[in-house]
Structure formats: structure tokens, C-alpha cells
């Protein structure tokens, strides 16, 4: 969680400095979902994500420096600079893809789960999406098919209460995403998505069953997007949480408080975690800055696979 937090805050700075390009969506405040879900997966488990994917990629094992190089459009980026922030792919670590079209990733995960089942493997496919994806028709189509075909796929919804600039209540009368899937008979659970322990526990139960071929299931993680929809969003549509209110909710501070209370973490350990994360991120910044931009010939080269 520390690595994701420090990484994304640094990405915010680099965006303002025009070193990171394009549309950048940060998951600051939502790190417990990435850590609690992707942190339990094997590299050969498959993850699909959406436009707010940096944390998922990092928690799934994508190297920080290659994620950052991708955000900066460099040749050593995960996708050789052709994907960018919203299209991170790291096949080696089982990240088959983030997609910039909200909800477009959900059926892809079903297809991957179908392939896993046909091949007889025990890999599990997970798709992460926001609550804004749930109002799209393709979500309902996918929920119907996943349950009809009993696919070993885990749907993880990061319900941060906002779809782009608009609160969930202005888009739908169904408050809980877990209620949307209820008529299909999908196993579902809603957890405090800012409590990494709760996310971990909720997901662990589903994962163990999906590993044995069961599914589908939906884990709804109630969380909070600290920053705007994208970097540069003036966020005129909501009041920011008061600092003390956020300190109560912040998944990192909550885990630290718990660790100190339970005696497995102390102030020095906390400082060391933060320091380690900063050093890794600064190393990633150095790596990405040194990486060249890809050659212009790459554009034509990669239109088709051969």
C-alpha cells in the first residue's frame, strides 16, 4: 500500500510537471483493494483492470520502474510506451490488461476464465472495476453469462461512490453493487474497502473457492477516492473530506494503527516502510527518465501480430 501511495503521489507531481502524459487517474485512498486482492494472487492468475489501474498493476507484481516508464511514454514501459496509464498490460505478471472504456474489461475476464476452465488449470481470473461500470449494459450481460456458465471469475467492484464527477445516487437507485447481482444468484459480499484486513479476508474466501473451479463471485469494496476523477480535475462537484475525517478512513493509517495496537509494527517500522517505498519510487523515476522514447517506427510495427 505504501508503494502504491508514494508512487501515485509522485505520478501526480510528474503529471503537473508534464513528465507523465495524458489522462491520469489516481487511486489514492483505494490502495487497500489493490493490496488485499492482487496481493493474494499468483502471477499466473489473471487480472483485468480499468482506467484507474496503477495500484492493481503494482500489487500484481508489475515492476514500478516499468509502470512509470509506461506512464511517461518510454521504450522501457510495460507496453513499450504504446499503452499509457489507462492501458497497462504485463503478461509476465498476469495483468492481461487495463482498459480505458468503463466496463469494457468485464467480459474479457469471463473469456479468460472460460479459457482457464477449458484448459483444466486452477488459475483464477479477477476483474476490477468501479461502481460507474455497473450501470452499463455490458455489465449486466456479463453477470448473466458468468452465472449461467458458472465461470471461475471474481468480480471486484471498487465502490468509491463517484462515477467520474457524479455521485452514485444521481446515476442509480441501487445503492449497493452487490444488490445489482443478487437476482442472478451470484455469491457476493460487501466489505469496508478501506480496511485491508476486511478486503483480504473477503477475497481470500472467494479465492479459495474459485481456485477449485467455483464461481462467479462479487466482492464489493466500499472505498473513497481522495483525488479527482483525473489529475487536473478541479473537483467542483464535492467537498473534500476534512483532514481528521480522512485520517480515520485512510487505509494505510488504519493498518498502521492496527499494527501498533497489535504489536507487530512500531513507529520505526512505519518510517522504514515509508522510506523503502520512497527509495523504490525515486529509483523508478530515475529509470523512467533515462529510458528513451520509442522509435516512431514502432507505431506501424505493432498494428498486427505476425
Amino acid at each position: 500500500m505504501w508503494r502504491i501511495r508514494v508512487f501515485e503521489e509522485r505520478v501526480g507531481e510528474l503529471t503537473r510537471a508534464n513528465e507523465v502524459h495524458g489522462l491520469v487517474h489516481l487511486s489514492v485512498g483505494q490502495e487497500a483493494v489493490a493490496a488485499g486482492v492482487c496481493g493474494q494472487l499468483r502471477y499466473d492468475d489473471i487480472v483485468y483492470s480499468g482506467h484507474r489501474a496503477h495500484g492493481h498493476a503494482i500489487a500484481k507484481g508489475a515492476p514500478l520502474e516499468r509502470v512509470l516508464a509506461e506512464l511517461m511514454g518510454r521504450a522501457d514501459g510495460l507496453c513499450r510506451g504504446l499503452g499509457g496509464s489507462m492501458h497497462l498490460v504485463d503478461v509476465e505478471h498476469g495483468l492481461l490488461g487495463a482498459t480505458g472504456v468503463v466496463g469494457g474489461n468485464v467480459p474479457l475476464a469471463l473469456g479468460s476464465a472460460l479459457a482457464n476452465r477449458l484448459s483444466g488449470g486452477d488459475q483464477v481470473t479477477v476483474v476490477l472495476f468501479g461502481d460507474g461500470a455497473v450501470q452499463g449494459g455490458i455489465f449486466v450481460e456479463s453477470v448473466n453469462l458468468a452465472t449461467l456458465w458458472q465461470l471461475p471469475v471474481i468480480l471486484v467492484c471498487e465502490n468509491n461512490g463517484f462515477a467520474e464527477f457524479t455521485p452514485r445516487s444521481a446515476h442509480t437507485n441501487v445503492e449497493r453493487v452487490s444488490d445489482v447481482v443478487a437476482p442472478y444468484g451470484m455469491d457476493r459480499e460487501t466489505v469496508d474497502g478501506n480496511d485491508v484486513g476486511a478486503v483480504h479476508a473477503g477475497f481470500a474466501g472467494f479465492l479459495a473457492r474459485a481456485r477449485r473451479g467455483a464461481g462467479p463471485m462479487l466482492l464489493e469494496c466500499l472505498t473513497h477516492r481522495v483525488r479527482g476523477h483525473y489529475e487536473g480535475d478541479p473537483v467542483r462537484y464535492r467537498e473534500a473530506l476534512a483532514a481528521e475525517e480522512w485520517q480515520e478512513l485512510d487505509p494505510i493509517l488504519r493498518l498502521q494503527r492496527r499494527g501498533i495496537a497489535e504489536g507487530w509494527l512500531d513507529e520505526a517500522g512505519t518510517a522504514r516502510l515509508a522510506q523503502d517505498a520512497s527509495e523504490q519510487v525515486e529509483e523508478a523515476v530515475r529509470f523512467a527518465r533515462e529510458s528513451p522514447f520509442p522509435p516512431a517506427s514502432l507505431t506501424a510495427e505493432l498494428v498486427y501480430a505476425s
Partner: protein, 334 residues
């Protein structure tokens, strides 16, 4: 030689691909029942429900499932029953399938075949009769095949299934049941290789799908007037065998492009632009295009018949390119 139909050639090729490669699976609406024409008839019985997947009427999701399955190592053949319904799956096809390889920096492959069929002439009305192939050729990352014969349908489909890229395979509902003599062993046909259906010295006609047969009939008619027409079927629009077309135009100095789709913004517009850029000095007449008028396909039978481009339109366009009047001396309303 064996007698077959375009549709039987497709069914046979699907079955052979599924026998040869366990990664090949078929999914779509009603495919286990064979579909409305029988293109997938018998596959469920031979290969079982795990590899012949009936789906709900959810074009967007089933297209996405096929793409995800392709990214994870399968070779799905997805059927979208009518090309008109492809509109419902275009996000998945255009944003996910076509760009998967590119935006992953080459990490992903999407070996997907999307079979669909288009064309009018069966009183299907506006929403079951369109020819939308030009849209698809505007999308880098897709391949587009549009066979006009049974042998080509078989040969191109086999190649499309083996291709590591998403291929949209646009069949023609009006050609499905036409009988044809084919070789006993149908060989795969590379994508991007045109077929010269008839050689000629006076004018080149490049025709797509149903218009290939119409153009061959027009060529017979024109031969009686002493005009020898070369008829070329590109067979695939992406990739396009441009060399064969330009080489022909350099010999005949005249080009007519014929397709059933609306002329405006059709594939003929792109081909005409490419040919004039490559062979402007070789052209002795403006490039003629034959296509449908800029209107949806009408339902009423006489209106649909009047709307559809065919043999007479191709013949008239060739005469125009040759600077000739019609054979019967009448001035055609063109």
C-alpha cells in the same frame, strides 16, 4: 471435384478446424442449433457443449468473452448473426480486440474470428440487410475478409482461424445456398491475395461479395459487345492485394468498383483514392463506382429490387468508362 455450397463450405471448414485444434471453439446465438441458416449445424453433436457455446442475445458481452478467451490462448470463432447487430459489439471489437496487440506493446494477441453475414435482397428490411464492411476497414488492427465463392469461403476461413489477429469474416446471405463445384481438397488461402475471376483487356472491375457474380454476368454481356472486362475479387479488404488491382488498371486503363454497400463512404471510395494516387497517368476515364444509393435498405420488394446494385449497373458503369452508349441504344438514367 465435389459439389458444395458456400454455407456447407463454412460448416466443413469449422468442423475441420475444430478437429485439428482443440483451442478452436464456436460461440454465438443459437450456434448449437446450427443458427438460422445451418452454418454451425452438427458441430455441437460432434464437439459438445463446451466447445460449441450457445449464448444469450448479448452481442457486446459475447464479443468480449471471445476476445478474453483469445487473449488467454483459445481460438474462438464468434458468430454475430447479422452484421447489423455488430453495432452492439463495436466497443469490444474496435476498442478491445483491434487494439489489444498494439496497446500492450505486442504482448497480447487476439486470434479471434468474428463470422457475420450481410447483404440485402431477402426482404429483411433496414436492420437485417446492411453492408457495413467499410466501417471495419477504417479500424487499424482488424482484418476483413469478404468471400464470394464457396472455395474462397473455406480457404479464407481456415486461414483466418489460424491468424493471430482479429479477423472479421463477412459472409453473404444471398450466396449461402448457391451450388458450386470445388476441388476435393480445399487449400487455405492467404489473406491479402486477390482472385482474378476473369481476364480482360478493356476495363477492370473490382467487385466485392455478391457483386462479383453480378460483375461476371455483366462481363458476359459486355463480351457480346466486344468489350473484354477483367473481374477481380480482392477477397480480403484488410489486408488488400493492391498490387493485383493496380497492375490490372495499368493494362486496361479503366476501373469500375462494385459493391452492395452504400456508395458514399464505401470501400470503393478508398480504393478509388488509392488507385488514382498510384496510377493516375494510366487512367483513360474517371473511376466509376457502383453501389447502393444513400438510403437505408427499403422493405417493399419492388423498392428493394430497385435499390440493389447488380449486373445492369456494373455493365452501365463499364460502358460509361468506355465512353459507350448502352447496347440497345437507350440512354440509361445514371
Amino acid at each position: 471435384m465435389t459439389e458444395t455450397t458456400y454455407l456447407q463450405a463454412i460448416t466443413m471448414t469449422l468442423a475441420e478446424a475444430m478437429r485439428a485444434d482443440p483451442r478452436v471453439l464456436v460461440l454465438g446465438e443459437d450456434v448449437a442449433e446450427g443458427g438460422p441458416w445451418g452454418a454451425t449445424a452438427g458441430l455441437a453433436e460432434e464437439f459438445g457443449a463446451e466447445r460449441v457455446l450457445n449464448t444469450p442475445i448479448s452481442e457486446a458481452a459475447i464479443c468480449g468473452i471471445a476476445i478474453g478467451a483469445a487473449q488467454s490462448g483459445l481460438r474462438p470463432v464468434l458468430e454475430i448473426m447479422f452484421v447489423d447487430f455488430l453495432t452492439l459489439a463495436l466497443d469490444q471489437l474496435v476498442n478491445q480486440a483491434a487494439k489489444g496487440h498494439f496497446m500492450s506493446g505486442g504482448q497480447l494477441e487476439v486470434p479471434l474470428v468474428l463470422r457475420t453475414q450481410g447483404g440485402a435482397g431477402q426482404r429483411g428490411g433496414t436492420q437485417h440487410s446492411q453492408s457495413l464492411e467499410a466501417w471495419l476497414t477504417h479500424v487499424p488492427g482488424l482484418k476483413v475478409a469478404m468471400p464470394s465463392t464457396a472455395a474462397d469461403a473455406a480457404g479464407l476461413l481456415a486461414t483466418a482461424i489460424a491468424d493471430p489477429n482479429p479477423v472479421v469474416f463477412v459472409e453473404s446471405k444471398t450466396l449461402y445456398f448457391r451450388r458450386e463445384e470445388v476441388a476435393d481438397d480445399l487449400e487455405p488461402i492467404p489473406l491479402g491475395r486477390a482472385s482474378v475471376m476473369r481476364a480482360g483487356r478493356d476495363a477492370t472491375v473490382v467487385a466485392l461479395s455478391r457483386l462479383v457474380g453480378e460483375s461476371l454476368a455483366a462481363a458476359d454481356e459486355l463480351a457480346g459487345e466486344g468489350v473484354e472486362v477483367e473481374v477481380i475479387d480482392p477477397r480480403t479488404l484488410l489486408p488488400l492485394d493492391f498490387e493485383t488491382i493496380v497492375e490490372s488498371v495499368r493494362r486496361t486503363h479503366r476501373l469500375v468498383i462494385a459493391h452492395e454497400a452504400v456508395t458514399q463512404g464505401g470501400f470503393g471510395a478508398e480504393l478509388a483514392a488509392q488507385v488514382q494516387a498510384a496510377a493516375f497517368d494510366d487512367l483513360d476515364a474517371p473511376i466509376e463506382r457502383v453501389g447502393a444509393p444513400f438510403a437505408p435498405v427499403p422493405f417493399s420488394p419492388p423498392l428493394e429490387d430497385a435499390y440493389l446494385p447488380g449486373r445492369a449497373d456494373v455493365a452501365a458503369a463499364v460502358r460509361s468508362a468506355m465512353g459507350r452508349q448502352p447496347a440497345d441504344g437507350s440512354l440509361e438514367d445514371r
